[in-house]
């Protein structure tokens, strides 16, 4: 490293407590908005959440039915592959465990599919046992469209690109199918604690 811009410090980059902030990350105060496309605007009366693929019967909930499901409020740390982390974020949503309650499947993987065409793949065991939710409130308020509202997937133990915005369902399968970023160099699994950002990491 040779040249240094005299007097340049950049934004304050707090690395935070190392037991909570994974390697290579820094803390932010705001909630950065990242997007691969225009914000979808599906009216709630047209919205549904579906479970499809390697299950007996596809299952579907309308928005009203979804809100009637038992929900949880949870506080989680989140970590984006673009290096920002945010601690103690508060969400409310339905546990994937709840959605999969009556589902019989031998599938080992799921692909989340979303309005706007975004997809991401997650092993089913990373969505169950209290590890993932479909969240519709953030910080006590309905989830902003720019942050994925009306509902987004929330899988806090993996890099946040796995927490798919504008999620409309999960497709269960035996194979791990690379999603939008996973098919373009990003790690299939994405564990922030092992810094699994890209293929080969």
């Amino acid at each position: 490293m040779s040249f240094v811009s005299r007097g340049f410090r950049g934004k304050r980059r707090d690395e935070g407590p190392s037991d909570r902030v994974p390697p290579g990350q820094y803390l932010v105060d705001d909630f950065p908005v990242l997007s691969a496309g225009p914000t979808p605007r599906t009216p709630l009366e047209e919205w549904d959440f579906a479970l499809t693929g390697d299950i007996g019967e596809p299952k579907r909930w309308t928005w009203e039915e979804f809100l009637a499901l038992p929900s949880e409020t949870l506080t989680k740390d989140i970590h984006c592959v673009t290096k920002w982390s945010k601690l103690d974020t508060v969400w409310e949503g339905v546990a994937i465990d709840t959605l999969l309650e009556d589902i019989e499947t031998s599938a080992e993987y799921a692909t989340a599919f979303c309005d706007g065409g975004y997809t991401t793949n997650v092993p089913l065991e990373d969505l169950t046992d209290g590890k993932a939710w479909v969240a519709y409130n953030y910080d006590g308020e309905p989830l902003d469209p720019e942050h994925g509202g009306p509902a987004r997937l929330l899988v806090p133990h993996l890099y946040f690109w796995k927490s798919a915005k504008w999620v409309r369902g999960l497709r269960l399968a035996d194979e791990d199918e690379p999603g939008f970023w996973e098919s373009l160099g990003y790690h299939m699994y994405g564990d922030p604690w092992r810094e699994q950002r890209y293929w080969g990491d």
């Binding site: 908005v33 990242l34 997007s35 691969a36 496309g37 225009p38 914000t39 592959v81 673009t82 065409g117 720019e146 690109w161 970023w181 098919s183 373009l184 160099g185 990003y186 950002r197 890209y198």
Partner: protein, 88 residues
């Protein structure tokens, strides 16, 4: 930040293109494989506030091209473009 602020155009990706191509890509014409619209790459929509850059058709907003980068390693997906016409 307003939503519109996240949307730029091919001009903003010109520097990235120069890392990858030996010709000027922003003046190349391409056909959107989804809707058939033809435009110069400089006029397509670019969403770069993301883990990668996503180029979208100005007519139908479908994905034309995606580029991700990690240091000296690049990934490129051009499936959304039927053809590119380049005046090199």
């Amino acid at each position: 930040m307003e939503e519109q602020d996240l949307k730029l155009d091919g001009n903003s990706a010109a520097g990235l293109f120069r890392e990858l191509f030996s010709f000027e890509l922003t003046t190349a014409r391409g056909r959107c494989d989804n809707c058939g619209a033809v435009a110069e790459v400089g006029a397509v929509l670019v969403f770069a506030n993301a883990p990668g850059s996503v180029l979208r058709c100005p007519q139908c907003e479908s994905v034309l091209m995606r580029i991700a980068k990690n240091g000296e390693r690049y990934w490129l997906d051009v499936r959304g473009i039927t053809w590119l016409e380049i005046q090199a």
